[in-house]
């Protein structure tokens, strides 16, 4: 088992932009690779990453993202997000980074627990069948806090 002081990493994913989703996925998977437990709580827009119909169509944010180094007005033009996303996906494939659906399979097989946020699911009028089959369940934030109630647990909001 893990000899690190960190025993468990809990992630709250609240955004659906590719950079945020991959950050959470890579950190969760990386934790498992080090023998650390990992769980992800999908809430608000983060739920797009586990919706069957949406998960493979996530985008990079081209507006309000200074690191894109393009003027905000240009970033807002039709098609810009699609172009930027295509470019980023190409670069990620070069580094052997899996697409979202395959990444979720890897996470689940690696023992990462995937939870949906009850409040956000109700708010967006989603049902369990809209979410991927690998989900471990739907929790309230209180349930999720209970899962953090042990030594060596860290929680990160993405």
């Amino acid at each position: 088992m893990s000899t690190t002081k960190v025993k468990k990493m809990l992630f709250i994913l609240s955004k659906a932009t590719i950079e945020n989703v991959y950050a959470a996925f890579i950190m969760a998977n990386g934790a498992r690779m080090e023998g650390i437990e990992a769980e992800i709580f999908f809430t608000f827009f983060g739920l797009e990453a586990v919706q069957k119909k949406k998960l493979n169509n996530l985008h990079v944010a081209t507006v309000g993202n200074p690191a894109m180094h393009i003027p905000t007005m240009v970033g807002g033009l039709p098609g810009m997000e699609a172009i930027a996303t295509k470019m980023m996906k190409k670069e990620m494939e070069k580094l052997d980074m899996p697409p979202v659906d395959e990444f979720l399979e890897i996470l689940s097989a690696s023992g990462v627990k995937l939870w949906g946020c009850k409040l956000a699911i109700d708010m967006f009028h989603l049902e369990e069948k809209d979410l991927i089959d690998d989900m471990d369940g739907i929790l309230t934030i209180g349930d999720f806090y209970n899962r953090a109630d042990q030594d060596g647990t860290q929680m990160l909001f993405v």
């Binding site: 088992m1 990386g30 498992r32 080090e34 023998g35 890897i106 023992g111």
Partner: protein, 102 residues
Amino acid sequence: METQENALKVDRNQEGYLTDFSQWNKDVGEQIAQEEGIEMTPRHWEVINWIQEQVKADKALSIRGIKKSGVLDIKEFYALFPGGPLKISTKIAGVPKPKSCI
């Protein structure tokens, strides 16, 4: 006793990885597995052999690569080498620790 002597003679880095694969043999692998609390079965050795072949062929190891390997799936990999399978299996195999993040 001889096993232990052999294992002690090999050169290892700070993290416990062999620095020279030519010093590896099954006894060395067995010894490292013991340190990691893993009892080796024929299935473990199949995976170790596969890892060594991949490294010899200069192929990068990753969890995604395990999924695509056709040799074993990720679940089994975690079950065979609990507590960081890529890290532990490469150590037993006497090959360098993979640099992959995925």
